[in-house]
Symmetry: C2
Subunit: 289 residues, 2 copies
């Protein structure tokens, strides 16, 4: 299967990511149908030309027509939705998702799914602090990473189509990782950073700090404005790996603290030089940060 | 004393901050003389119209003409420079700085300075990851905070002039803090965030992480590219306060870890809601982050 103008695409969940997918796909001439909870989100998306049709009802005829189903839902709702509606899926349909945790989710979905449909999981590494379709913006995909997480149950055709979807959406770099390796990476790169931002905003309650701050603090805490419902679910679904990353971070922090307490300037400078070297690897191609 | 077009301004140290000051002042029609270590920096600044005159030599006649001396130097060099050259200062001259630590520095400078000149300390909360005059950019001052840190030895006139300097440079918000309170604030808002970024880049050495990262990690580690000479000096000059802030941060992190390990979703969500509330206070006026 190849993604083309005849592909019937169904997006379930018109939040900030589902909305961004819809925007990008519709703008490129694909036909996008959408199912979501709130009528106001359908109305908004129709009024802004983000989708072709939409409904708050799970219409078996609509589900049964879709060649590609994109579940832009919280992990537990991905499972619930498939449990309730997988009998309506078109034979041969491909199902993908946008979820930020993979291991347990991919295992459970692939174990329960009908054998004549295929689930290929992917993680678009581009989010926003605000939620809701009205904040969706497909420009955040440009320059961003897209990770496909296939398992032994996936076919080369499904992996290829999922990669093609990442390209059509405008992602700059498309990679493949096993679901376990993905969860390990994401625990460090995304979940730990969100924990740090939340802890930073909880550990000092002095008033009026904003009058004295610089941009580095603002940058570090941008993500402290956090969707607590979603992130608490993602953290708990990846609890063991996230605990390991927290422990590694806090262990290194203890080493840093010892250098500082002992006045070991050479040791501090060595850690700073290593961090400068490592950070350079993360520059976006063509950008200066 | 009022800053005006007749004020003779001397900037010592043409790095990224000294250069930014020179650029802003020259653009507003002030006459800026500069003393710095490297002839190439003088040449660059003259070629780009950033200063009126400059020299690598400390000419007593030039120092003796300056009404306002801005020391854009590392803390220990502020002390050394004044020890070596304060005898040339003009009676009634005002000396200020741009240093990121205050308590001990302000004490030592005010204790050793000639009684007929005055030292009023200030901290421009705007930096860059790159050092050197060629990276200086006075646009980083717009929207940024400027903190004046007077002591009982300062006169109202000097405080007013220092505040006026912040306005002329284009800072959005000008505040006053005691040197001790400044160091406490800055340990949290600036030094701790730099420690976190450095530790983050030291605690996971997996290769190829950059292919899987999102923007939150990039934002948190932008400052991990760090001038190790300067920051190690700033950390050590503010060691006790920074250790306190590190301990508060790590203590709160331990609480967060316990909630996660125990699967206490309500507790995690409470910390996230508090961080979202606190972070909103730090939005720049008129910006969405």
């Amino acid at each position: 299967m190849q993604l083309n103008q005849d592909t019937n695409i169904l997006i379930v969940g018109l939040g900030v990511i589902g909305g961004g997918y819809a925007k990008a796909l519709t703008a490129k001439g694909y036909r996008v149908y959408c199912i979501t909870k709130e009528q106001k989100d359908i109305d908004y998306a129709l009024a802004h030309g983000i989708i072709h049709e939409g409904s708050t009802r799970v219409d078996p005829a609509v589900v049964g027509k879709a060649d590609l189903v994109i579940l832009a839902l919280y992990p537990h709702i991905v499972l619930e939705w498939l449990q309730s509606h997988q009998q309506h899926l078109k034979p041969g349909a491909l199902v993908t998702d946008v979820t930020g945790v993979k291991g347990r989710l991919v295992d459970e979905v692939q174990a329960m799914l009908r054998p004549d449909v295929e689930f290929i999981s992917a993680h678009p590494m581009a989010g926003r602090e605000s939620s809701g379709v009205e904040y969706s913006d497909d420009s955040v995909f440009r320059g961003a990473n897209y990770i496909v997480t296939p398992t032994g149950r996936n076919t080369p055709g499904a992996i290829a189509l999922c990669r093609q979807l990442g390209q059509v959406l405008g992602f700059a770099r498309i990679s493949e990782l096993s679901p376990r390796k993905h969860d390990e990476m994401i625990a460090f790169l995304s979940q730990l950073t969100h924990c740090i931002a939340v802890v930073l905003m909880n550990c000092n309650t002095s008033p009026h700090l904003e009058a004295y701050t610089g941009d580095s603090f603002r940058d570090l805490t941008r993500i402290a404005r956090i969707n607590d419902e979603m992130w608490s679910e993602l953290f708990l679904w990846n609890r063991e790996e996230l605990l390991r990353q927290i422990d590694a971070f806090c262990g290194t922090f203890a080493e840093f603290r010892t250098l500082l307490a002992e006045g070991d300037r050479a040791g501090l400078r060595e850690m700073m030089r290593y961090s400068s070297f490592r950070r350079a690897l993360f520059d976006k191609p063509g950008a200066d940060t």
